[in-house]
C-alpha cells in the first residue's frame, strides 16, 4: 500500500475514471468525422439546428430515463406516453376547444399518472420494471388509439395553438432552432441539480448501488422510485406537448422510436445498466453524440442506413469501454482502501 501515491489535483488516471470521459471522446470523434464529411453546411447554423432539434426531443426524455437507470430501473412506457399526451392535448384543445393551459396540464397529468402507476407496481411487487413498463406501454397505446377513434373517429387530431403558447413551446427560432432546445437546457439544469447537488441524487445512486442497504440507511426508496417514474412520465408527456405545438397535429402512433433511442443516449453517455453509476453531463453528451450521428449522416451524403450501423457500433463501443473504465475505477478504489 505504501507504493501507492495519493495524487491530488489533476491526474490523467482520475480523468480516465470519470464516467463522462468516454462519452466526451465519443462525441468529439463523431463530430469531427461528420464535420469533415459534411463540410461548411454541417458546421454552420443549419447543421447545428438540425441535430440540436433531434437532441432536444430525445434528450428531455433521456434525462429521467437515465436517472431511472442509475437507480437500476427501466421505463419503456415513455414510447406510448409521448403520443398519449399529445393526443390528450389535441383532443382537449383542438377537438373540444378548451384553453391551452387546461390541455397542457391534462397532458402532463396523463404522463405523471402513468408514471405513478408504473412506480407503484414496481415498488409493491417484485416484477421487474422492464416487464411492468412493457405492460403499461401496451395498455397506454391501446387506450390512446381506442379513445382517439371513439371520440374523434380518426387516428390523428389537429390543433392550432394560439401565438403565445406556440411561441413558448413550439416555435422555430430563426426558422431553424426549435424552442424545445431551450427547454432541454432547462431540464438539464434541473436534473443536474437533482442528481449532482441535492441529497436526492445521492439517494438515487445509493438505490442503484444496493437497494437493500439504501433502505436500511433510512432512504425512502419506494418514494424515490415512484417519483423517478413520475418524472419520466412527465418529461415524455412534455415532449408530446411540444410536438403537438410544433407540428399542430397529434398522431396515435409514432412514439416508439423514443424507447430505444432514449436508452441508447443514456448508455452512450456512460450510465451503467446495472445501476449506481452515471452523470447528467454524460447523458447530455450521449444525447448529442446520438443526434450528431442521426442527422450528420444526411449532411455527409452517406446512405442513411449506415447511421444505424454507426449508432449500433458506438453503443457497443461505449458499453465495452465503460466496462473497462469501471473496472479501472473499482481497482483504484480498492487499492486506496
Amino acid at each position: 500500500m505504501q507504493t501507492q501515491s495519493v495524487s491530488k489535483g489533476f491526474s490523467l488516471g482520475d480523468l480516465a475514471r470519470r464516467p463522462e470521459t468516454g462519452s466526451l471522446i465519443g462525441f468529439i470523434a463523431v463530430y469531427i468525422f461528420f464535420a469533415s464529411l459534411g463540410g461548411a453546411v454541417f458546421l454552420g447554423a443549419p447543421g447545428w439546428s438540425s441535430w440540436l432539434n433531434i437532441a432536444a426531443e430525445v434528450g428531455i426524455i433521456a434525462l429521467p430515463v437515465g436517472l431511472l437507470m442509475i437507480s437500476g430501473e427501466f421505463d419503456l412506457s415513455v414510447g406510448s406516453i409521448v403520443p398519449a399526451s399529445g393526443m390528450t392535448l389535441a383532443m382537449i384543445c383542438g377537438h373540444f376547444g378548451m384553453p391551452a393551459p387546461v390541455g397542457i396540464v391534462a397532458a402532463l397529468g396523463v404522463g405523471m399518472l402513468v408514471g405513478y402507476f408504473n412506480g407503484l407496481i414496481v415498488t409493491r411487487t417484485t416484477i421487474p420494471s422492464l416487464i411492468v413498463t412493457i405492460g403499461s406501454m401496451f395498455a397506454v397505446m391501446g387506450l390512446t388509439l381506442g379513445f382517439a377513434v371513439l371520440i374523434k373517429g380518426s387516428t390523428s387530431v389537429s390543433y392550432v395553438p394560439d401565438a403565445t403558447t406556440k411561441a413558448l413551446l413550439g416555435q422555430f427560432i430563426n426558422g431553424m432552432f426549435n424552442v424545445a432546445i431551450f427547454w432541454w437546457l432547462g431540464f438539464v439544469a434541473v436534473f443536474f441539480f437533482l442528481l449532482q447537488l441535492s441529497p436526492f441524487g445521492n439517494w438515487v445512486f445509493a438505490i442503484g448501488g444496493d437497494r437493500e442497504s439504501a433502505r436500511n440507511a433510512g432512504i425512502p426508496t419506494d418514494k424515490v422510485s415512484i417519483s423517478l417514474f413520475m418524472m419520466s412520465g412527465f418529461c415524455a408527456a412534455f415532449v408530446g406537448v411540444a410536438q403537438v405545438m410544433t407540428y399542430q397535429t397529434a398522431q396515435v402512433a409514432g412514439g416508439q422510436s423514443f424507447i430505444f433511442n432514449s436508452i441508447m443516449c443514456v448508455v452512450i453517455g456512460g450510465v451503467l445498466l446495472t445501476g449506481g453509476a452515471g452523470s447528467i453531463i454524460g447523458i447530455v453528451l450521449g444525447t448529442m453524440t446520438f443526434a450528431v450521428v442521426n442527422q450528420g449522416i444526411f449532411f455527409a451524403a452517406l446512405d442513411p442506413n449506415i447511421g444505424s450501423i454507426i449508432i449500433g457500433a458506438l453503443l457497443l463501443f461505449a458499453v465495452l469501454s465503460n466496462d473497462r473504465f469501471r473496472t479501472l475505477a473499482m481497482n483504484a478504489a480498492t487499492k486506496k482502501k
Binding site: I121, T125, T126, I127, P128, L130, I131, V132, I134, G135, S136, M137, F138, A139, V140, M141, G142, L143, L145, G146, A148, V149, L150, Q256, F260, I263, M264, V267, L273, T274, D303, N305, I306, G307, S308, I309, I310, I311, G312, A313, L315, L316, V319, L320, N322, D323, R326
Partner: protein
C-alpha cells in the same frame, strides 16, 4: 390437487388463456368454433412462437435478446438476396440465412459472457447495428429495399406451403416440432437442468462444473438462428423479403414468454407455459377480429393480460416456494 396445478409454472398462462377466451366470449360474442378453425392467429402464433421458445430458454438462463427484431428481416433478406437476386440454388439461401443467425448469435453470446454488460444493452447494439447492415446491404447489393424471390418447389413444400389447401401455413408444424424438441431439452435432458441452474445462481452453477459460458453462447446462437429461420420461411412463403418489420415482434415475443410464466430474472419457467403464452398472445392480438370489440383496443387487452399474468405468476411462485420450505421443516 388444485394446489399442485397452481404451482405449475404454466398455471398462470393457462388461466390467462382461459380468461382471454371468456372475455372474448362474454364481451365480444365470439364464436369459439369459428375462432378455433381460423388460421390467422395460428399462423401468427407460429411466427412468434418459434422465436419465443429459445428466447424463453435464454430468459430462464437469466439473459435477454432483443436483436431478434432485426434477425427476422435479416434472415428473410439474406435468403432473398442469395436466391432471389443472385439466383443461386435455394440451399445456399437457406444456409446463408442460418449462418447470419449463427454469427450474430455468437457476437451476442461472446460479448455477454466476456463482459459485465447486461445482455439487454448488448443486443440493443446488435439490433440497431443489424438493422443498418440489412438496410444498407440490400440497398448496396440490389439497389432496393424489397427483394423478390421465387423458391423452388421442394423449399415451398418444406417452409412456405399452405396446409390442406387452406390458409394454415406449414410453419405451424415447424413450431410444434420445435416445441417438442425444446421440451425435451429443457425438461428431460441434462442441459435443461443446467439452464435452470444458470438462471437460478450463475456462480453456484459454475462452481458445480456446469459450462456456463458455453451454454449461454449456445442459447444466444439458438435464438438468433431461430429468428433467421422464421425470416427465411416468410421470404419463401410470400415470395419477397422486406427490410422493415420485426420491431413489433421484439415486444410481442417477450410478452408471450412472460405471459407463459417465465421469470425475467431467470431460473423459472416451462416450455408448456411458453407455448400457451404464445397462443394467448396470438388470440388476443389476432382473435380480436372475430369479436365485436373494436380492434383498436387490442393493445390495451395485451397490456392488461401481461400485468395480470405476471401478478399471478408471482403469487403462484410464492405458493410453490412456501410449499417447498414447509415440507423441509416437516422432515427436519
Amino acid at each position: 390437487m388444485i394446489g399442485n396445478l397452481l404451482r405449475l409454472p404454466a398455471a398462470a398462462s393457462i388461466i390467462s388463456l382461459f380468461g382471454v377466451l371468456c372475455f372474448y366470449v362474454v364481451f365480444g360474442g365470439v364464436d369459439l368454433e369459428k375462432l378455433g378453425g381460423a388460421a390467422s392467429w395460428v399462423n401468427y402464433a407460429a411466427r412468434i412462437g418459434i422465436v419465443a421458445l429459445p428466447v424463453g430458454l435464454l430468459m430462464i438462463a437469466g439473459e435477454i435478446d432483443i436483436s431478434i427484431g432485426a434477425m427476422i428481416p435479416a434472415g428473410a433478406m439474406t435468403t432473398a438476396i442469395i436466391t432471389g437476386h443472385y439466383e443461386l440454388p435455394m440451399i445456399f439461401g437457406i444456409l446463408g440465412a442460418l449462418t447470419v443467425g449463427v454469427i450474430v448469435g455468437l457476437i451476442n453470446g461472446i460479448l455477454a459472457v466476456r463482459t459485465t454488460v447486461p445482455s439487454l444493452i448488448i443486443t440493443l447494439g446488435t439490433l440497431v447495428g443489424m438493422q443498418g447492415v440489412v438496410l444498407a446491404g440490400s440497398k448496396l447489393l440490389t439497389g432496393s429495399a424489397s427483394v423478390p424471390i421465387q423458391a423452388p418447389e421442394w423449399a415451398k413444400t418444406l417452409f412456405g406451403q399452405l396446409l390442406f389447401g387452406g390458409s394454415h401455413q406449414v410453419i405451424i408444424i415447424w413450431w410444434v416440432l420445435f416445441a417438442i424438441l425444446f421440451w425435451f431439452i429443457l425438461h428431460k435432458s441434462i442441459y435443461g437442468n443446467w439452464i435452470f441452474a444458470i438462471g437460478g445462481d450463475r456462480v453456484s452453477a459454475r462452481n458445480s462444473g456446469i459450462p456456463v459460458d458455453k451454454m449461454k453462447v449456445l442459447l444466444f446462437v439458438l435464438t438468433s438462428t431461430s429468428a433467421a429461420f422464421v425470416g427465411m420461411c416468410h421470404a419463401t412463403l410470400f415470395n419477397s423479403a422486406q427490410v422493415s418489420g420485426g420491431m413489433n415482434d421484439i415486444f410481442n415475443i417477450i410478452v408471450s414468454v412472460v405471459v407463459g410464466g417465465v421469470l425475467l430474472t431467470g431460473g423459472f419457467g416451462s416450455i408448456t407455459g411458453i407455448f400457451i403464452g404464445t397462443i394467448t398472445f396470438a388470440i388476443v392480438n389476432k382473435g380480436i377480429d372475430f369479436t365485436a370489440i373494436d380492434r383498436n383496443w387490442s393493445n390495451l387487452i395485451i397490456g392488461m393480460t401481461l400485468l395480470m399474468a405476471v401478478a399471478m405468476n408471482e403469487h403462484f411462485r410464492k405458493l410453490a416456494l412456501s410449499m417447498v420450505s414447509k415440507k423441509k421443516t416437516k422432515v427436519a
